[in-house]
């Protein structure tokens, strides 16, 4: 049976040719993945398997690098490299850092 990512030959709409420059966070996802592969923490095949396991809904609704970072997170959890508790704590810490940074004045006078 055909799985949802195996879409070659299926009908689909016109090719949407708008493009976007990768945002800094998307490049960071890319860099993390490359380094995890280089350090043999995970493989590209595992990344792809993790993306496919997100299921048809997530596959179509999430953006490309959203699928990547979810897959990376799941593979790292599966391998025991990180724990659910560590991840939850780190996400809260990331949000708190962001909130603190946003509270800074956005511009400062020239010295």
């Amino acid at each position: 049976m055909r799985r949802h990512h195996d879409m070659g030959g299926l009908p689909a709409g016109p090719v949407e040719r708008t493009e976007h420059e990768h945002a800094p966070w998307e490049k960071k996802v890319d860099a993390i993945l490359r380094l995890l592969v280089a350090e043999k923490v995970m493989t590209l095949d595992e990344l792809r398997r993790g993306i496919e396991e997100l299921g048809p809904g997530a596959y179509d609704e999430l953006s490309y690098f959203e699928r990547w970072i979810r897959s990376i997170a799941n593979i790292l959890l599966e391998k025991g490299v990180i724990t659910v508790h560590e991840l939850a704590t780190a996400i809260e810490a990331a949000r708190a850092r962001r909130a603190a940074a946003e509270a800074c004045p956005k511009t400062v006078p020239a010295p």
């Binding site: 879409m7 800094p24 350090e39 953006s63 490309y64 997170a73 962001r98």
Partner: protein, 225 residues
């Protein structure tokens, strides 16, 4: 103007919070990028955990980000231009892209890349139907449409219609060959050298070869004088 991460914290208080003496912001938000999404937080969280555990080092991440930014279709275009002017190089490129790239000091990585040659009456185009495999070390980041459903689904079944959407109308006398990339084998298109470029040097030729030419959804064209 965005918040300058290098500003001096000695003389300018941040009113509602402090940084340790001599320290800059540990983190540089791109405030213009819009809201901080859950996936951005997930990305930062994973980065911080990998750093804290010593699995990755900050300078590795910085170097990798620089490396990502350094790749562009100009690298693939250099290979094409050299192949157009040097038949022996072209033969080596068709035999082994990764080795031929190394001759020009270009690192095409360990995953094999095959060059597919367009000829009169034969056009080639590349896709990855299952995911998004792409020779990014020679072409830079893949365009959004390459990774999206419409292109992946349709180009293998109705390549002429898809190419026409890109403005490339091919007559029935031209055969279209579609190559489906995998994690183990990727493709780049070696386009036909356009007429009217006799005597051009490599640099001028390379400027004709766009990313889309290297994917096969466009052909190099000579700008009209």
């Amino acid at each position: 103007m965005s918040h300058d991460p290098d500003h001096d914290h000695q003389g300018l208080d941040h009113e509602d919070h402090d940084h340790p003496p001599g320290q800059r912001h540990p983190f540089q938000p791109d405030l213009e990028d819009g809201p901080y999404t859950w996936h951005m937080a997930l990305t930062d969280a994973i980065e911080q955990l990998l750093l804290a555990k010593g699995i990755l080092r900050p300078e590795q991440i910085r170097r990798t980000l620089e490396d990502i930014d350094s790749k562009s279709p100009a690298l693939g275009a250099r290979l094409v231009a050299r192949a157009w002017v040097d038949p022996a190089f072209k033969a080596r490129l068709l035999a082994d892209v990764n080795a031929a790239a190394a001759e020009l000091g270009i690192d095409a990585g360990p995953i094999p890349i095959r060059a597919v040659e367009c000829r009169p009456g034969e056009h080639h185009v590349v896709v990855c139907t299952l995911c998004s495999c792409y020779p990014r070390l020679l072409l830079g980041a893949a365009p959004d449409w390459y990774k999206a459903r419409a292109y992946r689904s349709r180009v293998v079944r109705e390549p002429r219609a898809v190419l026409a959407e890109f403005g490339l109308e091919l007559g029935p006398e031209v055969a279209v060959v579609v190559h489906d990339s995998t994690a183990e084998l990727r493709f780049m298109v070696l386009p036909e050298r356009p007429a009217g470029t006799e005597g051009w040097d490599e640099e001028r030729l390379a400027a004709l070869v766009t990313r889309d030419c290297l994917i096969g959804v466009a052909r190099p064209t000579v700008p009209s004088a």
